[in-house]
């Protein structure tokens, strides 16, 4: 599997938004709950459009939802953990 270098704060943002459920978020952005689960786990990097939709739901800039780390930094972090 490729090293994932896109991190996200969706779990924390959902918690801050009155414990919004994954299903509620999925309904708001028009995807399945499984897709939200995959994004949260880092198993799927969403399209730019879906990323913006998620940011819009939480009324926050895109960079507060997703962050990018170069591949070698992400790999080092993974090895340490």
């Amino acid at each position: 599997m490729p090293t994932r270098n896109i991190q996200n704060n969706i779990r924390r943002l959902r918690f801050d938004a009155d414990e919004m459920t994954q299903q509620q978020l999925a309904d708001k952005v028009g995807v399945s709950r499984q897709t939200i689960v995959a994004i949260e786990k880092g198993n799927y990097s969403p399209s730019l459009e879906l990323a913006f939709k998620i940011a819009l739901v939480f009324h926050t800039p895109l960079q507060d939802v997703f962050s990018y780390e170069p591949v070698n930094v992400a790999a080092k972090k993974k090895r340490k953990s």
Partner: protein, 154 residues
């Protein structure tokens, strides 16, 4: 297990069962001498067309039965329908696309094998047998890839 994974598992088993039953049926007719699979290429053409028709009808029936059983097991009502059977989204489309790519590669491999079989002097009908096998294998790879991508990420 998600609905999509179940769907792919059903596809794998239905594909194998339909092909196995049809192949057994055709082979029995060949043994009885009712069709000639060695020299009659027209018979092969007809068999492929009939197989395509039977496969479509059998799959529709299997899908209907699967949906009914799935709805009973998951207590799926009209209100929860979208949660149990989610509409196809961008991740589903990407997974399907990657699985289709893998499937096409394997079918092309099968096609090359069939050509090689002809080139090394195997009987002409072997090309059709290799086609059937590579068709089944590529379908297995398609569904297997989808299950893999759903579980491991894409």
């Amino acid at each position: 297990m998600s609905y999509r994974e179940k769907e792919n598992i059903i596809n794998i088993f239905s594909g194998l069962i339909i092909t196995a039953i049809y192949a057994w049926f055709v082979y029995q007719r060949h043994l009885e001498g009712r069709i000639d699979l060695v020299d009659d290429f027209q018979a092969w053409g007809k068999l492929f067309l009939v197989y395509a028709g039977i496969s479509v009808v059998a799959r529709i029936i299997i899908y209907i039965v699967f949906h009914i059983i799935n709805a009973i097991v998951t207590h799926n009502t009209e209100a929860t329908h979208n949660r149990e059977i989610p509409p196809e989204d961008e991740r589903d489309k990407l997974i399907k696309l990657k699985a289709l790519r893998n499937s096409h590669y394997s079918f092309v491999g099968g096609f090359m094998l069939a050509i090689i079989a002809l080139a090394v002097g195997l009987p002409s009908y072997s090309i059709f047998i290799v086609f059937v096998v590579s068709g089944v294998v590529s379908e297995l790879i398609d569904n297997g890839s989808q299950i893999y991508y759903y579980r491991k990420g894409v």
